[in-house]
């Protein structure tokens, strides 16, 4: 695959090449486009590095297995990826239902990954996210990841009004918390 083609081909086209012709280079390009953003989202959702590693593998395994049946008309590939990721996160959280959402001590980011200052930011973010109810956190994170309201509706499987109200409640609960502190 030429360098130019590599950057111009759509996600759907790359996945189709992989699924139909076994074009591994196309999959590698696709993977390279989304792997870090998805991993970052998973890590922030789960608050644990090891868990994010496990879930990321599970998500991509679904993509590999389902590549042949992906159809562009339902959602963008990125939205599909995050839908799978979100479902896997929910499953994971159900499995560890008796544990706190995130224990910062367990985040266990490898030492080389972040500087001390970055680590402080990350800890603050995880604490703040942890303070939001799961549904509001979901809507907020997807919005921050750049998804439109419509896409958030598709990913979370709820209506537009519900998404808006979740974002509104998230805002209100943060204001209240700031007021209390």
């Amino acid at each position: 695959m030429g360098t130019f083609a590599k950057f111009t081909r759509s996600d759907a086209s790359l996945l189709q090449s992989y699924a139909k012709s076994g074009d591994v280079a196309a999959f590698e390009t696709l993977y390279g486009r989304h792997k870090d953003a998805l991993f970052n989202y998973l890590f922030r959702s789960l608050g644990q590095f090891a868990a994010a590693e496990e879930i990321a593998q599970e998500v991509w395994m679904v993509v590999i297995k389902q590549a042949g049946s992906y159809q562009k008309r339902d959602a963008t590939l990125r939205a599909w990826l995050y839908t799978i990721g979100r479902n896997k996160v929910i499953d994971f959280q159900r499995r560890r239902v008796n544990q706190a959402y995130t224990d910062i001590g367990d985040a266990a980011i490898p030492d080389s990954a972040l500087s001390a200052e970055q680590r402080v930011f990350m800890d603050q973010l995880l604490v703040q996210l942890n303070n939001l109810p799961a549904e509001q956190r979901d809507a907020f994170m997807l919005q921050q990841e750049g998804f439109s309201h419509k896409e958030i509706c598709k990913i979370t499987g709820v209506g537009s009004e519900t998404v808006k109200s979740r974002l509104r409640y998230a805002r209100a609960s943060l204001k209240q918390r700031v007021g209390e502190s």
Binding site: D36, M61, G157, G159, L174
Partner: protein, 277 residues
């Protein structure tokens, strides 16, 4: 919110570890379908047609084409003579005779048995309403889903006729207002469902997927919810999932899992009449 949004943006991005990347890419390589041979795809059909043509022509030239009799039509030549018919094996002749006798004895104008009449009456009472809803739903469906829905219709009609009277009564109560989501994807259905009242739901889904994916799908459905589901394969391509969710949450969970399978189409979701207390 804006503070948190700011923090979200400023917090460092964690990258996918190289170890994970290697494992995923290795898996992608091992599961990649074999590349198709472009030459074979482009020229294969043309070459086959030419080969078949040459072989056919050779055979015709070697054997010679027998001329048609002037008085006999081609149909006459193909029809077996009375003598040829009589040469059929005795058992076969006897079978054909039995069948003819059965057909002659059958009175097709006679009413069907009471049990069948009841089933037909039920089907008449129930199915038109269902069919109306599904015809409306069909308008919103893509062409590839519509045949599957029609198959579902047939299967459902057949299944209803086989039910006992008591089960039919239950089924009748299950087929309520026939609220079918306008767009039949799992995601849309899930969204529609999340805005409904909390009742029990009977769900039918049509899923087109490969056998391998089917196994994954079944595993995922089982994992997602404790609801009873019945799977039924149709035409080796479509899978019907009949499920009954005790509440809206279970139904949404099921549809949420289905959203991982982009070609899963929801045929119908029906709210049971009784409200969950």
């Amino acid at each position: 919110m804006s503070d948190l949004a700011e923090l979200y943006r400023r917090a460092p991005n964690v990258k996918s570890p190289p170890g994970v990347d290697q494992q995923i890419l290795a898996e992608a390589r091992s599961r990649a379908p074999a590349p198709r041979r472009a030459w074979l795809l482009q020229w294969g059909p043309a070459v086959s047609i030419v080969c078949v043509g040459i072989i056919g022509l050779t055979m015709v030239l070697r054997s010679g084409v027998p001329p048609l009799s002037e008085n006999a039509s081609p149909t006459d030549e193909m029809m077996p003579t009375t003598e040829q018919s009589q040469q059929l094996p005795t058992g076969l002749n006897a079978d054909v005779g039995d069948l003819s006798a059965d057909i002659a004895a059958a009175d097709i104008s006679a009413p069907v048995s009471a049990e069948e009449s009841s089933a037909d009456a039920f089907a008449r009472d129930t199915l038109p309403a269902t069919a109306q809803g599904q015809v409306a739903a069909l308008e919103g469906l893509s062409e590839d889903v519509a045949p599957a829905v029609r198959t579902v219709e047939k299967v459902e009609q057949g299944a209803l006729r086989k039910l006992s009277t008591a089960d039919r009564a239950t089924a009748r109560s299950a087929i309520a207002d026939n609220s079918v989501p306008p767009d039949q994807t799992a995601l849309t259905a899930s969204r529609w469902l999340s805005e409904q009242k909390d009742t029990s739901y009977a769900i039918r889904l049509a899923v087109s997927t490969s056998k391998q994916d089917l196994e994954n799908l079944v595993a995922r459905l089982m994992e997602a919810t404790s609801m009873a589901i019945l799977l039924e394969a149709i035409d080796g391509q479509w899978l019907l999932v009949h499920g009954q969710a005790g509440n809206r949450k279970d139904a949404v969970a099921l549809l949420g899992r289905l959203s991982e399978f982009p070609d899963a189409k929801v045929v119908s979701i029906k709210a049971l009449k009784q409200q969950v207390q």
